[in-house]
Amino acid sequence: MAVVEQVRFSIFSQQEIQELQNDVIEIEDLAERKNIAEEKIQQSKLARRGGIFAPNELDATLPAAITKKQGNALISRVDESKLANSVKSTDKTSAAPFVRSSSFRQIKDDVDLLKEGQKKTKDALSFLTDFQGTAFTKLLGAASNFLPVGFALSVATTVFALIQAQFGAGGIFDTRKRELDSVKSLIGLERETDIIGGDTLFLGNPTLVQGIARNQTSNTENLRDGQRRFVLRSNGY
């Protein structure tokens, strides 16, 4: 029996996070109530306006008593009920339970759906990743009961095998062949470094020489030396 020391650290609990979410819901309620109240105040102000400060010409022509009544009528009953409901939601003694359509709950529902979806995907993946084992065989067996699916699968399997064979020796996707071709075109790392570094002069015209100019007796000699030099350079000297 080995030595086992059990240790526990405290972290955020689910309950704490839940409490935080409840706080945010409360803030959401407050923000909604604030918006409704602001809208109501704005509409009341509009309703009270008349005379030369009226928002349009039609209001300006109407007497103040009529515009006030019109303003009261402009306040939406929907907003009124929203405000009433938001107040009611905090009223614990209310007989009729108010079901609040919280945006947070919508998000939570979406998250739950997402979690469920993830779980299903995970299960499906764990099933499919074992495709060389019994699971995939069973899947193939089940699929072959439906003829079109079975046929499509068998075609796909054959094509896959054909393509796979092309990656082998002599196939069109044989990477070793490509590597050999590329190796042929290389002049060697050391040689290439010398050319790039300027230690070896590599010119298109072999008659041009590197270093101090010499006493040239004939142009053919120069050409001969140039050719020799070219051959030597080509061989990496």
């Binding site: 029996m1 080995a2 030595v3 086992v4 240790v7 526990r8 945010v24 959401e28 923000a31 998000i107």
Partner: protein, 166 residues
């Protein structure tokens, strides 16, 4: 937190952030705690073992196991030290918890033999002193626990600030 909220969009964003935090926190804290536990608990235990001249086999056989995050607000793990001799004697436990004076019996012919005046002498067994208990795992865990807890709390708060407060 509430001082930054001025519109419904802010509240919606906050809700989204809290939900995101709820989803990502368990995975984050598991990864983070694994590193902290290794740095603050496991490595000090191994250092203490070396200073007490523990066998490297015991040190290598000391590890963290069964780490899991619980929804009730804790992360739990086991510090395990497991090394047995070929005959099945629990050496790790003997060093940690100590042993009483006990009798060692000869098993093989070559065992428990020694040479005196060019004569090899054999023993059928003999009494040996017990190990003094070191309690390295227990003591080090107790000493390092507050430091590791502080770091885990700090990491949690930083993660919360990054995900929710921003």
């Amino acid at each position: 937190m509430s001082s930054n909220i001025s519109s419904k969009q802010d509240v919606m964003k906050l809700l989204f952030n809290v939900t995101r935090f709820e989803m990502q926190y368990p995975r984050f804290i598991e990864e983070s705690a694994r590193q902290i536990i290794d740095q603050e608990i496991l490595q000090p235990i191994k250092t203490a073992m070396r200073s007490f001249r523990y066998s490297e086999k015991i040190i290598d056989g000391t590890f963290i196991d069964n780490l899991f995050v619980n929804d009730n607000g804790f992360i739990q793990f086991d510090v395990v030290s497991d090394y047995k001799s070929e005959l099945g004697f629990d050496v790790a436990k003997a060093r940690e918890e100590g042993t009483k004076r006990h009798f060692i019996k000869a098993v093989g012919k070559a065992a428990l033999s020694w040479v005196t005046n060019n004569v090899r002498l054999f023993s059928k067994g003999h009494w040996v002193k017990g190990f003094t208990k070191s309690n390295i795992i227990k003591k080090t865990t107790e000493i390092r626990f507050p430091i590791a807890q502080e770091r885990i709390t700090q990491e949690s708060v930083i993660f919360f600030n990054r995900m929710v407060i921003q």
